[in-house]
C-alpha cells in the first residue's frame, strides 16, 4: 500500500471534495432529470433493440392460417427441447401437414434463437421484445398455439408494445 501524502493525511479536504461530487450529481439530477441513468421500469417501457430475442410468436399466412408446416426443424435444433409440435393431416391435399398443437415451454427455453434460424418458412419469430414472462403456475408457461399466434393476448402485448407481466 502506498503511504499517504501529507494532504491526504489531513483527511477533511478529501472528504469535502467527495461530498462536492455527490452534491453536484444530486443537484444536476434534481433539476435536469433527462441526465438520470435510472430507468423508470416498469412504469415506463424500457428500450429493447430490434434484434433482441424475446418471447416467441408464430406468423400467419395471408389466409390467416399458421405459416408453420410442422416440419419440426425448430424442435430438432432446440438445445433445450422445449418445442412440442403435433402434426396432422391437412384436409387440403396440396398442403402436406399442419400443426394441430404447437407448444413452447418458455421455462425450459434458453432464448438462443436457433428455432428462428432453423425455420425454413419464417413461421416463428422472437421479435416481440417481451422478456418479462410471469405466471402463477408452471403450466401457464406452456405457451400453446393460439397464444403464440397472438389470439388470446391483449393487443398491446400481442404487438410487443407492452411487457406481459
Amino acid at each position: 500500500m502506498q503511504p499517504l501524502t501529507f494532504w491526504q493525511k489531513l483527511y477533511l479536504p478529501e472528504i469535502l471534495r467527495g461530498m462536492a461530487v455527490t452534491t453536484r450529481h444530486f443537484v444536476v439530477n434534481l433539476l435536469w432529470q433527462r441526465h438520470t441513468v435510472t430507468q423508470q421500469y416498469p412504469e415506463e417501457p424500457t428500450y429493447v433493440s430490434e434484434r433482441y430475442r424475446g418471447r416467441h410468436r408464430l406468423m400467419r399466412k395471408e389466409d390467416g392460417a399458421p405459416r408453420c408446416t410442422s416440419c419440426m426443424l425448430c424442435a430438432t435444433s432446440c438445445p433445450a427441447l422445449c418445442i412440442h409440435i403435433q402434426a396432422g393431416e391437412h384436409p387440403d391435399p396440396t398442403i402436406e401437414k399442419y400443426p394441430i398443437s404447437f407448444t413452447i415451454d418458455e421455462l425450459r427455453c434458453v432464448f438462443c434463437g436457433l428455432c428462428v434460424e432453423a425455420c425454413p418458412c419464417d413461421a416463428i419469430r422472437m421479435d416481440t421484445g417481451v422478456f418479462a414472462l410471469a405466471a402463477y403456475k408452471r403450466e401457464n408457461f406452456l405457451y400453446p398455439r393460439n397464444l403464440l399466434l397472438g389470439d388470446d393476448l391483449p393487443t398491446d402485448i400481442a404487438e410487443g408494445k407492452a411487457p406481459n407481466h
Partner: protein, 525 residues
C-alpha cells in the same frame, strides 16, 4: 462354381450367377442404387448403379451385369461419378423440394445420394411437372406421385412377393405414375412392406405419417412376437414410446419382410398396459407394492401347498421365462396342473404368417413346459378348479375369458382361494384377479425366442419397462425366493447360461453365439 474379378482394385471371388452389384455388396463395396433390391427381380430402370467396365465403351448398370472371369470393374472413377451425378440430376428434375415436410426425410435415398454424389446447383429453369398428391392406396399406404422416381420396387413386390398384383405403372413419359388397378386397393396383408422398400417419400404409412421425424428415433434389434415365425425387426422408439416396427433382413426367417399384423402389433407396448402390481381389496383392485403383492400370492400358495396350484401359461414368454417357470412348477410347486395355452389359431399363409400366434411355443416346450394344450386338457383343468383340487390359479399372459369362458372366470373369482393373473396388457378377466402382476413386454427386456423352425433368436430391451412392470423371469425368481428357494438370477443372460447347461439341444448357447441373426438349435442335435 465361382468367378474371379477385380472391383476397385480388389480381387473378389463371386458366385457364378451373381451380378456385379451383388458381388460388390458382398465384398463391402457400396454401389448406389434405387430400383435394385436383393429380394426382388432386377428392373434396371433407375440407372443409378452405373460402373465402368474395362474394355467396354460405355458405363453399365451393375445390377443387371453378370460377373465374368477377369472382369475389371471401377465404381468410383471420375467417369462413374460424373455419370451418377447426371442420373441423379435427371431423377430430381421434377422432384419437389419439400424435404422439410416429407416423412421420408432423414432416411431418403435421394437425400443421401445427393449429399454423396450430387451437390450440384439446379440448372432446371422450367416449370416442374406436378402430379397427384396424397393418393389413398389402401388401408395403410398413401402415395405421392411427385416424389416417385418410378423405380417399380413396390410394383415388383406386389407381383413377386405378395403375388396380389395391385400396382402398376400407367401412362408414359413424364406423366407416368404408379397407381392401383381400377377397383383395386393396396390392401394385401403385406402391403406395409411397399413403404419400407420405397427408396423415396412416394409411399408413406398412414399409421406413421407425421407422428415423429425419423431422426429422433432409436433402433433396437428385436423379434416380432406376432406368430411362430419370429420375423426379425427393428423397434423404432423415442422416449420409451414405440413409433413403428421395421423388418430386419434375415434370410433364414423372414428375408426382408414382415406382415402388417406384426407391423402394427407395437401398439400393445404403448397402450392398455398394467402398470402396477394390484391386490383385490374391498371389492376392487388396489395398487400395491411388489413385495406386498408377491407376499399375498406366496401366502395363498403356502396355505394349500404347491400341488394345489394350477398354472396356465401362454407361450408368449421367452425361453428364459419358460425355463424358470418350468423349474418353478416342477421343483418348487411340484404341481402337475400345468397347461400351455396357445390360444385360438389364426390366419396362415405360405409366405410368413403362421397359424400359431405365439412367438415361442416351440421354445416353451423345449424348456420343459408341456406341449400346447388340446381342448381336453383345458377342460380337465377347469374341472379340477370346480372340484376344488386347484385352489390357486396362476394365469400368465392368458386371456382367461377366451380360454375358459366369462362365466367360469366369474365363478372362480369367488371359488378359488387366489387367482393370480400376470399380464403386460389389460386383458378380459384380469379385473377379477386377486393378485394382478404387471409383466414387461418384449420391447422392454432381453431374452430369446425359438421359432417354429427351431431357430433361436435374441430380443433386446429397447427401454425400461413401463410403470413397475418386470420381466417375467424376474417375477418367477422373486416368487421362488418368496417360497424359500435361493434363486439368484440377476439377468436374462444368467438364465440362458443355466439353460445352456441344462436343456438338451441348447448346450453351449450364449447371447454372443446367438448374435443378431440367431442360430438353429435343431441342426446341432
Amino acid at each position: 462354381m465361382t468367378k474371379k474379378l477385380t472391383i476397385d482394385g480388389k480381387e473378389i471371388t463371386a458366385r457364378d450367377d451373381a451380378t456385379i452389384i451383388q458381388a460388390a455388396h458382398e465384398a463391402g463395396i457400396a454401389i448406389p442404387h434405387y430400383c435394385y433390391h436383393p429380394k426382388l427381380s432386377i428392373a434396371g430402370n433407375c440407372r443409378m448403379c452405373l460402373v465402368e467396365l474395362e474394355g467396354r465403351p460405355k458405363l453399365e448398370i451393375s445390377c443387371n451385369t453378370p460377373v465374368a472371369d477377369n472382369m475389371v470393374v471401377c465404381t468410383n472413377s471420375p467417369r462413374v461419378i460424373e455419370g451418377r451425378r447426371g442420373v441423379l440430376e435427371f431423377l430430381l428434375i421434377n422432384h419437389p423440394l419439400d424435404c422439410p415436410i416429407c416423412d421420408q426425410a432423414g432416411e431418403c435415398g435421394l437425400q443421401d445420394y445427393y449429399m454423396q454424389y450430387g451437390l450440384y446447383h439446379s440448372r432446371f429453369q422450367e416449370e416442374k411437372v406436378h402430379g397427384r398428391k396424397v393418393v389413398d392406396f389402401g388401408p395403410d399406404v398413401i402415395f405421392d406421385s411427385e416424389r416417385c422416381i418410378l423405380c417399380t420396387r413396390c410394383v415388383r413386390f406386389c407381383t413377386e412377393i405378395s403375388k396380389t398384383n395391385e400396382l402398376g405403372i400407367f401412362e408414359r413419359s413424364d406423366t407416368a405414375q404408379i397407381a392401383t388397378f381400377p377397383g383395386k386397393q393396396l390392401d394385401n396383408p403385406y402391403a406395409g412392406n411397399t413403404v419400407d422398400i420405397c427408396p423415396v417419400g412416394a409411399l408413406t404409412s398412414k399409421d406413421f405419417r407425421f407422428k415423429i421425424r425419423v431422426w429422433f428415433l432409436q433402433e433396437t434389434k428385436s423379434v416380432c412376437p406376432g406368430c411362430a415365425r419370429g420375423c426379425n425387426i427393428n423397434i423404432h422408439h423415442h422416449n420409451g414410446q414405440v413409433y413403428r416396427l421395421k423388418p430386419r433382413q434375415n434370410d433364414e426367417v423372414n428375408e426382408s419382410w414382415i406382415c402388417d399384423a406384426g407391423r402394427f402389433s407395437y401398439k400393445l407396448i404403448n397402450d392398455n398396459r398394467v402398470l402396477h402390481p394390484q391386490i383385490q381389496q374391498d371389492g376392487r383392485l388396489q395398487q400395491a407394492s411388489w413385495p406386498a403383492a408377491l407376499q399375498h400370492a406366496v401366502e395363498a400358495i403356502q396355505r394349500h401347498g404347491g400341488a394345489a396350484v394350477g398354472l396356465v401359461v401362454a407361450p408368449q414368454g421367452t425361453n428364459e421365462d419358460s425355463y424358470l417357470l418350468a423349474r418353478l412348477a416342477s421343483e418348487v410347486l411340484m404341481t402337475s396342473h400345468v397347461v400351455l395355452y396357445p390360444g385360438a389359431p389364426g390366419e396362415e399363409d405360405d409366405l410368413l404368417m403362421r397359424a400359431d400366434k405365439n412367438p415361442n411355443t416351440r421354445g416353451a416346450h423345449d424348456m420343459g413346459l408341456p406341449a400346447p394344450a388340446p381342448a381336453a386338457q383345458l377342460a380337465a383343468m377347469a374341472q379340477a378348479i370346480d372340484q376344488g383340487t386347484i385352489k390357486v390359479l396362476y394365469a400368465i399372459g392368458v386371456d382367461l375369458v377366451a380360454a375358459f369362458g366369462a362365466e367360469a372366470v366369474r365363478r372362480w373369482a369367488t371359488q378359488l382361494d387366489c387367482l393370480i393373473v400376470q399380464t403386460s396388457n389389460i386383458v378380459p378377466g384380469c379385473e377379477r384377479a386377486h393378485v394382478l402382476l404387471p409383466s414387461a413386454t418384449y420391447a422392454e427386456r432381453d431374452g430369446t425366442f425359438t421359432n417354429f423352425q427351431g431357430h433361436i433368436q435374441r430380443i433386446n430391451a429397447a427401454f425400461a419397462p413401463r410403470g413397475e412392470a418386470l420381466p417375467a423371469w424376474q417375477i418367477y425368481t422373486r416368487l421362488a425366493r418368496g417360497l424359500g428357494q435361493d434363486w439368484t438370477y440377476a439377468s436374462a443372460e444368467g438364465v440362458l447360461h443355466d439353460i445352456a447347461a441344462a436343456v438338451p439341444r441348447y448346450e453351449g448357447l450364449s447371447y454372443a453365439k446367438i448374435g443378431d441373426f440367431g442360430c438353429s438349435v435343431t441342426h446341432e442335435s
